[in-house]
Homo-oligomer: 592 residues x 2
């Protein structure tokens, strides 16, 4: 189904919801407003009555009735005066929210667009009308499958100084199958919520004393971060990137020179020295620092491309209300890289980076799309640098996308202020798309910092800079990856790879000896020495989502084969210790 048709259906379904509630409760509720959304629709109302999810049955029954009545949905127009007079005769008589809409429309000097549902000119219960610019379906009978989801509070206009209204959320799809799939996805997304799994799997924690948006990673979560970091760094080392190191703070002058201060000055954490008069900030990106390293030596065309990388944390002063688990944090660790090259090397550098992106996300198991993010030609003032350079940069990027057979689409207005970029979007197990790796072409900053190299003709020229992060932010990547895998990490990334469960106290020492053998080979092991039943210990291990569980009893201690419980599988596998160890080492080697 097309997006616009789905939007019309959801919008109409929201009108059906409103009409149904007005039929049931009449003047006891005041309908405020309700739009269609990407996920469905919602409807806000004001009432002294308590309406809860327990009333959903009653409401749905009335909604089904309205749909069955197949009322026509008719677009109409009135003057503000006509609308005021008409509303005064019907259910909106004392509804200040509707009159506020009318006042707004009057201020804009517009006519009032309304939609009728049922016979024009009549009133509840036969007919419903609302101020609305649409779009809508032709009639209520064309609404497919719908569901009311939940009730929550919401301030009028989202402003906490206004009255708290009640909001009913719902969604609608063309078919029951699509609706069911959506509901399954919501349910699955809830189960996979990285905040919930982060706690259950003991990956990270927050502390009131440290502050919101500042996660602390436990040993298990840190292992995950570190293994991903090492992989990202290895891929880049293999194609010539060299690590550098910069501090997390800097004098403000650095960003005044780069141009970031004018754009993002108000989003930065300011750092105050008590000992000196330095005006400092926490770095919100690494490019200006890396350019200072480039600038520390004279460079020749022979030295290029110079490829720096660093996995380092930047800080952005997000509003407290926008912080969310690892998805939106104030301490953001980037697996960042900056390449300084000659114009004739751009394509080669991009090809290398695209190769790495493909390899990383193939290993990770997420398909990729590529968004080519151009500048918005309507707002050139938002971007630094000459128009000509931008045209050139955008055409280079398009050309590279084509040559590399990327699954790409072009979007104006998504560029960084200093250059266009390829935003790779990874698709997760629930079909959601996430922006991840982003090679960005930058002709602007190297000029501002006065970077140069001596070309083969003896001339001093400005290098091109290419920004690149593979995961982007490790925190945000982890939030996506934890939900993508539902915490069932592949063996190479599992904090504990093999978990040993001794049958009883007398098997503990023996189990420790076996687990030590695994550990010595670099396999990450756990062992449960608690005084519990085997059943309970296995259930605990299953909940921890460890890939392999081995119960150690008399047979195993006598040197028999091991019985392996594999995550997600009913049947156990009997295998010799040696073969099992080889299997794990092979999986780790191949990042499985």
């Amino acid at each position: 189904m097309e997006d616009s048709k789905l939007e019309a259906m959801r919008h109409s379904c929201e009108h059906v919801l409103t009409m149904a509630m007005l039929r049931i409760w009449g003047g006891k509720i005041k309908a405020a407003m309700g739009p269609a959304t990407d996920e469905g629709f919602y409807f806000d109302f004001d009432s002294d009555m308590k309406i809860s999810e327990d009333d959903f049955g009653k409401i749905k029954k009335e909604m089904f009735k309205i749909i069955k009545e197949d009322l026509p949905i008719i677009k109409d127009e009135m003057t503000v005066k006509e609308a005021r007079e008409f509303f005064n005769t019907n259910i909106y008589k004392d509804n200040e929210y509707k009159y506020e809409w009318l006042d707004q429309i009057e201020l804009r000097g517009e006519k009032v667009s309304v939609y009728w549902m049922g016979e024009k000119g009549k009133n509840i219960p036969e007919t419903f009308v609302d101020i609305c610019s649409g779009p809508h379906l032709d009639s209520t009978g064309k609404i497919g499958a719908f569901k009311l989801l939940k009730i929550a509070g919401a301030y009028w206009h989202g402003d906490e100084k206004n009255k708290m209204l009640t909001r009913i959320y719902g969604t609608a799809f063309e078919t029951k199958e699509e609706l069911d799939e959506y509901l399954y996805m919501i349910e699955e997304a809830k189960k996979r919520d990285h905040r919930k799994l982060g706690k259950e799997l003991d990956l990270f924690t927050f502390s009131e004393l440290v502050g919101s948006g500042l996660p602390l990673f436990t040993p298990k979560g840190t292992l995950l971060r570190e293994l991903l970091r090492e992989y990202s760094e290895q891929l880049r080392t293999d194609v010539g990137y060299q690590k550098v190191w910069v501090p997390h703070i800097t004098k403000k002058e650095l960003y005044e020179t780069s141009g970031h201060w004018a754009k993002f000055g108000s989003e930065l954490f300011l750092v105050k020295s008590q000992e000196t008069s330095d005006e400092m900030v926490m770095k919100p990106m690494n490019c200006p620092h890396h350019q200072q390293i480039y600038a520390s030596q004279p460079r020749s065309y022979r030295d290029l491309p110079i490829k720096y990388m660093e996995t380092t944390t930047i800080y952005r002063d997000e509003k407290a209300g926008e912080l969310l688990g690892l998805s939106r944090v104030r301490s953001i660790t980037q697996d960042d890289s900056h390449t300084f090259c000659r114009p004739d090397q751009i394509e080669e550098v991009y090809n290398t980076l695209i190769k790495i992106v493909k390899e990383f996300y193939s290993t990770i198991g997420m398909p990729l799309k590529a968004r080519l993010s151009y500048r918005d030609p309507k707002t050139p003032e938002k971007y630094l640098g000459e128009s000509e350079l931008w045209d050139k940069a955008e055409s280079i990027i398009l050309d590279i996308a084509k040559k590399n057979n990327l699954n790409y689409y072009e979007v104006p207005g998504e560029a960084a202020f200093y250059g266009p970029k390829i935003d790779f979007m990874a698709v997760d197990a629930l079909g959601r798309e996430w922006q991840v790796a982003t090679p960005q072409l930058d002709f602007v900053q190297p000029k501002r910092f006065g970077l140069t190299y001596t070309d083969s003709d003896g001339q001093e020229k400005t290098p091109v800079m290419i920004h690149f992060a593979l995961m982007g932010s490790i925190e945000r990547f982890l939030s996506v990856y934890i939900e993508h895998t539902a915490g069932n990490f592949p063996v190479w990334l599992s904090p504990v790879q093999v978990h040993f469960v001794p049958v009883s106290e007398k098997h503990i020492d023996g189990a420790l000896v076996i687990s030590a053998e695994f550990k010595k080979l670099g396999i990450r092991v756990g062992i449960d020495t608690a005084d519990e039943t085997v059943g309970k210990k296995i259930r605990t291990a299953v909940k921890s989502k460890v890939p392999y569980i081995i119960v150690v009893g008399d047979k195993e201690l006598a040197g028999g084969d091991l019985m392996i419980r594999m995550r997600g599988l009913e049947n156990q596998e009997e295998i010799s210790k040696e073969k099992f160890i080889d299997k794990i080492l092979e999986q780790v080697k191949n990042k499985r």
Copy 2:
């Protein structure tokens, strides 16, 4: 020679210097003050005359004369009144510095201790007298070998609001041999200055735009940091430490709880959020953050010891004037660890840490001494926690030092405010001692943060925390290590291990093929493709202190043995490529 005797000699030598100058220039200079120091002595004076190092010859001649005169040095006492009257009759008549001393002594209600050099009661040129509490030698003839070193400006009382005086530095030793050795050491230290080598070897850089005390590490310097970090982490991983990760900022409340705020509040970088009202700081240490991770789960006696480690950067707001290369920086990267254990596990944890310290510094090639840093019993208010806990902690540390056969000495007053520590001091190639690794016992902080574990008896108890960093600050360690090795890093740490020098243009491709073979095996290679003579290219490589240089000409490309130029050796070694590769890999493996 004992330290106290050396101090007396240097003090007397400083008086001889003053007397010599007064003999030469009389009332044209005002003698202000001059002490003995660890390195020698200095003397500050005020004069309108220009006295420079060119005058050293004349001054030394007069000093030798005074030493030859073998004047007796006699301690004496006067009342302040007597001293004022006496000074008014001699060379100090208009010397405001001496009268300021007398005023100070008067305020303290003390008598004036003076030293005569020559006949008591007389005046320059036969006799010299100065306010001084000693100690001194018996006579000027007992002064051994001395040398005047340099002249510099110095504010009176070190306060820039006061007048700038002139300072002459000198030193003295019992014998000419000791003096020569000292002078050689100074010269050698200058050559090894890590700031100079850091630039020459392209290890790190500073940027005006980033700010002072904030080094940026280039690829070569970063490699050095990273290899040391990995080694430090590996040693700790092997004994059960697990990496954690924390952000660099925190709400101030964290340090109010830990007790750091009250002690160090004014030395911290304050962080201002523009979006929220959070009062934040940059972390000046990691222990409180790590304790928040400990506190994120209930802990059992069975879980202990819990061993966290993290290589992370802390920030301290040093005064601009105190910053010095990598020795004193504002961004300090610690290879930090925190162990939470039961009291009965303290000794075992310490033994493990001491084992690691011994292994690391033995690899690094620096002998160790251990300073046991206790609290100063005279200022108990400087320390947190009950006296009884301190006594216990100090006796535990002493016991551990004995059992581990440490080369130890005890120093009161050097403890951290929360507990005593073992400060390991590494001795460098010039015999200088540097504080490096520091296991610290802490009974206080876990209590303040309310940390607990459930003991085997079911009771909630407070764990003991042991702080530990192996290198301490990586930046400071590097400053020491660069000077210790004079930049001649062992093969495993050399940023470039083998440097190839093609004889001419036509040998470049072949040299690239050979170097690629080395690179493939993980050996770090460099190749000089510049259009220069072989001689010049070799000289450049020698200056870069690379361990091995290989010239590639016709013979080498024909598959012949390689001629290896080894750093610091005159003779070259002829060896097959395979054997040479094995040799390097063996050196890297053994950290040589």
